[in-house]
């Protein structure tokens, strides 16, 4: 249950007790089971603080933009350092207060300091008419702000850092010869946020917004890193796509705590994003013409050390997932390595790939349906949709006439509707049994 649900439950419990729906003992148990800490500030208070700091920061930048021509250089440089000094003093005070300092003040001080540091560098580069190498500026700004995320536990600074490193990684499609000048440095930059990773033992669970921000940044930044790992990414784009698959698999399998495993899917964005990439790609992989490209991609990517890093990391995460019995995520993540199994077929590998992908995806679809009817947690509608998409994809690939394809589409549509009705009846019967 998410924090808003806990809050809602705590507001309802007294009323339920009064109405006799639950006993006082049950209410205590529910409060213990779903604790809600309302001692901290509301999200609105924190957001207002960050917004205030942001506005001051933007204001500073606008003042810099005005360019005070009638002041000499030393005076203008003083304008650059004065806000930074003020912000640092505020953060120092907040840090010294420790837990006694309200969270919104900590957030505001940290975010304002991050803004002031950037404004200071900007005004200096303006005074000396320095060039517009903005990626370097963004990276320097992000790195100078990162320790504030650790020390002040500032969500605002974390999101700012994530935006900066993502924008820096995605800035262009030219492959840089020096690794630390390109998105290849992104994994290291992301490691900088280690204490904020999903699943990390934190005093409070990370908010869903922050999890999404981390997952979105990681998916884009790691995709850019994979692109930069290949020497000729445009001509060997299939290899880039395969590296993206391995990255998605690693993200899906990222070890998380037992509590996080049972949390709703929307609070595990790395799983949602990984599924959204791997399932459609898996369906494309069933195309008969995809085999040659896939095998070529694997042979190109296999020569890269980054590929092996991804395979080792994914393998280690997979072992953890097996121990935690995360079968659903394992079944989808393994789509990334299924094409590699075709290599065992030697020269016939390109012909085997589409069939392997078809069998794998069909098994996932069937398993998602079967689990529901075996009274386990399944996703029957998703399973049925996956099977339907597979059938349609195979039909598109076939040499059948338009008439036959049309009839087949209608049949699949009817079957899908019938399945939906059967499923609804099944759910109704189950509810009746429970009541």
């Amino acid at each position: 249950m998410s924090a808003p649900n806990h809050r809602w439950l705590h507001t309802q419990l007294p009323e339920w007790e009064r109405e006799g729906l639950i006993t006082a003992e049950n209410a205590v148990k529910l409060r213990q089971r779903h604790p809600h800490d309302d001692s901290g500030p509301g999200i609105a208070q924190v957001a207002m603080g960050v917004l205030g700091a942001l506005l001051i920061g933007v204001g500073l930048i606008a003042i810099i933009g005005y360019n005070w021509d009638h002041f000499n250089r030393p005076v203008r440089l003083m304008f650059a350092f004065a806000p930074l000094l003020g912000a640092q003093a505020a953060s120092w005070w907040a840090l010294k207060q420790g837990d006694a300092c309200a969270r919104w003040i900590r957030e505001t001080a940290a975010f304002f300091q991050a803004m002031a540091a950037g404004a200071c560098i900007a005004i200096v580069s303006q005074i000396y008419n320095l060039g517009g190498d903005w990626p370097q500026f963004v990276l320097a700004w992000a790195l100078l702000s990162l320790p504030l995320a650790w020390l002040m536990r500032s969500y605002g600074v974390v999101i700012f850092y994530l935006v900066c490193i993502t924008v820096w990684s995605l800035r262009d499609d030219v492959r840089h010869p020096v690794w630390y000048e390109s998105a290849r440095a992104y994994p290291l930059l992301l490691l900088g946020l280690f204490p904020f990773w999903p699943g990390w033992k934190f005093d409070k669970p990370l908010s869903t917004t922050l999890r999404w921000a981390i997952a979105l940044s990681a998916s884009m930044g790691l995709a850019a890193a994979a692109y930069q790992m290949i020497e000729h990414p445009w001509s060997d784009f299939e290899a880039v796509v395969w590296l993206w698959s391995l990255t998605a698999a690693a993200m899906i399998l990222l070890p998380i705590s037992e509590a996080a495993i049972h949390a709703p899917t929307r609070s595990k964005p790395q799983v949602v994003l990984g599924f959204l990439y791997l399932l459609p790609l898996g369906v494309i992989g069933t195309s008969l013409s995809a085999g040659h490209e896939t095998i070529e991609a694997i042979s190109i990517a296999g020569k890269l050390s980054w590929t092996w890093v991804l395979i080792i990391v994914t393998g280690a995460f997979a072992v953890h997932a097996i121990l935690r019995r995360r079968w659903a995520v394992l079944s989808v993540a393994s789509l990334a390595v299924t094409p590699a199994l075709a290599l065992a077929a030697g020269e016939n590998a390109p012909h085997v790939v589409p069939w392997l992908m078809l069998v794998h995806l069909s098994l996932i679809g069937l398993a998602l349906i079967a689990l529901e009817f075996l009274d386990r947690k399944g996703a029957p509608r998703l399973g049925a949709a996956l099977l339907s998409v597979l059938i349609m994809a195979r039909l598109f690939d076939s040499d059948l006439s338009l008439l036959l394809k049309g009839l087949a589409f209608i049949l699949v549509g009817v079957a899908f509707l019938v399945f939906n009705i059967v499923l609804s009846r099944h759910h109704k019967k189950q509810k009746e049994k429970v009541s």
């Binding site: 930048i61 933009g65 021509d69 350092f81 010294k96 060039g131 517009g132 100078l144 020390l151 840089h176």
Partner: protein, 183 residues
């Protein structure tokens, strides 16, 4: 252990000062000790949302001859030597990937090479302006860019680094011309 966060904070605060201070140190050195060179410019352009109004300063020469038998690798840093002609204007005379032992030179990014010429990025490209002078500057730049004498960028150069010090027309500083026009 309680002092560890404060130590990390102090290091962070120092780093936040050190980055702009090191820039100031480097570029003040260039301005005070550097050699003044003059470069003829081409076309203008107007705005940086983060740092305000500026004129995009594009020196006319962007290609440098490659030494015989050399192929310039793309997106690498290199050194271009500067030679001042009889007209007092500086030109890029040669490219190397090792620091020249003598003379004035710039540390630049090499884009690409074609037909025994390498294309480079100059280490300066912007001249920041007061917001009130900016519209006048746009107009002035557009009027004078095709002037036969052209707009000249005055640049201080030291140890490969460059600071754009001023823009001039007929030897008159750009800001003075603008202030006269605004009057």
């Amino acid at each position: 252990m309680k002092s560890l966060p404060l130590i990390i904070f102090a290091i962070t605060a120092l780093a936040q000062w050190a980055v702009p201070l090191s820039q100031i140190w480097t570029y003040e050195g260039v301005l005070t000790k550097g050699t003044l060179i003059r470069v003829k410019c081409a076309a203008p352009d107007p705005y940086d949302p983060l740092r305000g109004r500026y004129l995009a300063v594009r020196p006319e020469q962007t290609n440098v001859p490659l030494p015989e038998g050399m192929e310039a690798p793309e997106e690498q840093m290199g050194y271009v030597s500067l030679t001042t002609g009889a007209d007092g204007l500086a030109t890029l005379s040669s490219l190397s990937f090792t620091k020249p032992a003598s003379g004035d030179y710039l540390h630049v990014r090499v884009h690409s090479s074609y037909d025994k010429q390498a294309s480079i990025d100059w280490p300066f490209e912007r001249y920041y302006l007061n917001e009130e002078l900016a519209p006048e500057a746009d107009e002035w730049f557009a009027e004078n860019i095709r002037n036969t004498k052209g707009i000249i960028a005055e640049v201080k150069v030291l140890n490969g680094k460059a600071v754009l010090a001023d823009l001039t027309l007929d030897g008159k500083p750009f800001r003075e011309i603008l202030k006269d026009r605004v009057k």
